[in-house]
């Protein structure tokens, strides 16, 4: 059996048995829905319905309903796309990269972080889809044989790489998540009593029986999927950054973009995980499984990635001056002192300064401070994308066409709406799915459960 150093904080608090772990996770699924959940899902689904309404209006009327103009021809749509994709990076990072590094604390958070990833990527995919205007021909992005002569999609274009990257990332994350869910669905199937519930969870569990050979394959599949999902995580946001970096727009045309975007994505993803899990652990009484130590570990990831992002911002500024290209340096001077300087300084303070507070152990281990700062980071990372996109575009090479971007109510409605859809999906997940990886947590109970560790110490 594996043993863990006695001075390490236990990952599962209190005296838990295998049965307790099952009951703590399956209990809320079998019981009636709590009032708080009903209120939250009502509010978020109302927002979602409003968002869907805005999307339908947009599709019926055209993307002229957005505030885009001649100069700023990409704004909230792509900002929201990159923001959601970035948020979608934490889940696979937690389940894949941390699995390869054998970080056992991931087991309490990977299931919900992956769910968050999947829902966030769905929200991200909405934006390029509706940006096409004619969403019903969106299958044209695929290299399909067609009747328009030999017209194929352009494989030299990062926008097409994005199609492949996002769809691969989405489907592989979904499969990775579901393969981990199968044994836990089997646990629910064997617990629930209602005939309809039993039938549904029975179908979802794929007839899993927990045979030794199946577990042997299960662990191998998880490891290999983690191994190939790890470079996938890095490739996806690198490719997203190349949507900008391969263009010739000053402010976008920089080689630092791929690593800078990837660390920004991990940064915002972990912030969103904190926001959601701090509420979920409270609402579902999971304090023994997701506790201060887990939050502290995630805050450490936030300091590291936040600092990388900070260094990247400063490097960009330095290089724009050092390059000697006046267009490039103007783009950056305009960013921090032009009409959008408020957004720039918002980004700087939210992303660079605020996460540095986590160097203090008191703040890093405070749940209230973590929750507040995670929201600050979420806001900051949205502004990062807004600053990169809008400030680089709004003053182009021809001063007569300089202008500013003003968001319309449809811009705002669609963005808020995707948050509503995302929260609705996440709340539904928290209600009906096993929110902790039961089978994984049970493997660490004896090495990292509080009461077991105390006994061993004696």
């Amino acid at each position: 059996m594996q043993r863990e150093a006695a001075i390490r904080e236990p990952l599962i608090l209190g005296h838990k048995t295998y049965k307790d772990i099952t009951d703590d996770v399956v209990g809320p699924i079998m019981g009636p829905a709590p009032l708080g959940w009903k209120i939250m899902i009502t509010i978020s689904s109302l927002i979602a319905v409003y968002g869907v309404g805005c999307i339908l209006y947009l599709l019926g009327t055209g993307i002229g309903t957005w505030g885009l103009n001649k100069t700023v021809d990409w704004a909230w749509d792509i900002t929201n796309f990159v923001w959601w994709v970035g948020i979608g990076h934490a889940g696979t990072l937690i389940s894949a990269v941390l699995l390869l590094f054998r970080q056992k604390w991931r087991m309490a958070i990977n299931r919900s972080a992956e769910a968050m990833t999947i829902f966030a990527v769905i929200m991200a995919a909405v934006f390029p889809g509706i940006h096409m205007g004619r969403i019903w021909v969106s299958y044209w992005v695929l290299p399909l044989p067609n009747q328009f002569g030999s017209l194929w999609v352009n494989f030299n274009s990062p926008l097409l790489w994005d199609v492949f990257a996002i769809s691969t990332y989405f489907s592989v994350s979904l499969v990775f998540w579901y393969i981990g869910l199968i044994p836990d669905f089997a646990t629910i199937r064997d617990r629930v009593t209602g005939p309809i519930q039993k039938k549904i969870y029975g179908v979802l569990a794929f007839g899993w029986s927990g045979r030794a050979k199946h577990w042997n394959r299960f662990e191998e599949v998880s490891l290999v999927l983690a191994g190939i999902a790890t470079p996938l995580v890095f490739s996806v946001h690198s490719i997203v950054s190349m949507d900008f970096a391969t263009s010739v727009i000053p402010g976008w045309h920089t080689t630092i973009f791929p690593p800078y975007f990837v660390s920004g994505a991990v940064f915002s993803g972990f912030a969103m995980v904190q926001t959601l899990l701090l509420i979920m652990r409270k609402g579902m009484n999971l304090e023994n499984y997701i506790h201060v130590k887990h939050v502290e570990y995630m805050n450490i990831v936030i300091i590291v990635t936040g600092s990388i992002v900070g260094v990247a911002y400063l490097t960009e500024l330095f290089i724009s001056w050092y390059s000697g290209v006046e267009y490039e340096s103007y783009a950056f001077i305009n960013r921090f002192s032009g009409p959008y300087s408020w957004a720039y300084w918002m980004m700087m303070s939210c992303n660079v300064i605020s996460p540095q507070l986590f160097w203090f152990k008191k703040i890093r281990r405070s749940l209230v401070a973590t929750f507040a700062l995670s929201i600050v980071v979420n806001i900051g990372m949205w502004f990062e994308r807004y600053v990169i996109i809008v400030t680089s575009l709004h003053r182009d090479y021809l001063p007569s066409s300089w202008g500013e971007f003003h968001a319309t109510s449809i811009d705002i409605g669609i963005f808020i709406g995707t948050i509503g859809i995302f929260l609705t999906l996440f709340l539904a997940f928290a209600r009906f799915f096993p929110v902790l990886a039961l089978n994984e947590l049970k493997t660490i109970l004896k090495s990292s459960g509080e009461s077991y560790k105390n006994e061993q110490a004696k």
Binding site: L160, F164, S209
Partner: protein
């Protein structure tokens, strides 16, 4: 008449101990049902390491080849697009632009190919009936399955050997 023994234990350490004891006496363990992977049980009951990783590699290589072949056909052979005065002359000259899609497509094929193989080999597919002998094996109990079919001992001898282990319950069924 052959018999199947389902022996239940309430702890993973007890299953390990019982399995090694029984295997030491020459008993063949048919299967073990557990709520989570028991590390170290596979060599004891004679389960070989799965070859799914090799499958995944082969699927991924298929993806790599298909992606390169496809892009060669679309971009070089069928319609060499000239974008910004940079025509697509040959696969070798264009290969750097093709790396991202090649990588993504390899991962796509490797991951999904392996996942489908895994589900088919396990026989775990949507709506399949569960085959664990007791619903408690997905919670906190462990069941060792032993059959007289592939054992040289008689049913009584087997039962005697099994009863010496630290078990919780035993159920004997005619196969």
């Amino acid at each position: 008449m052959s018999k199947i023994f389902h022996v239940m234990y309430d702890d993973d350490a007890k299953v390990m101990a019982a399995a090694s004891e029984l295997v030491g006496q020459g008993v063949r363990v048919k299967d073990v049902f557990s709520p989570f992977p028991i590390h170290g049980i596979d060599p004891i009951i004679g389960i070989k390491r799965t070859r799914l990783a090799i499958c995944s590699f082969m699927y991924a290589m298929t993806g790599t080849s298909l992606a390169i072949l496809g892009m060669w056909y679309f971009m070089i052979q069928d319609w060499p697009m000239n974008i910004g005065g940079k025509p697509s002359f040959s696969l070798l000259e264009n290969i750097t632009a093709f790396i991202p899609v090649t990588f993504e497509f390899s991962v796509l094929c490797g991951a999904h190919g392996m996942a489908i193989t895994y589900l088919l080999r396990n026989g775990t597919l949507p709506g399949m009936p569960a085959s664990n002998p007791d619903p408690r094996t997905t919670d906190d109990k462990f069941v060792v399955e032993i059959s007289t079919d592939n054992n040289s001992m008689s049913a009584d001898e087997l039962e005697a050997a099994i009863r010496k282990t630290d078990l919780l319950e035993i159920s004997i069924k005619d196969a």
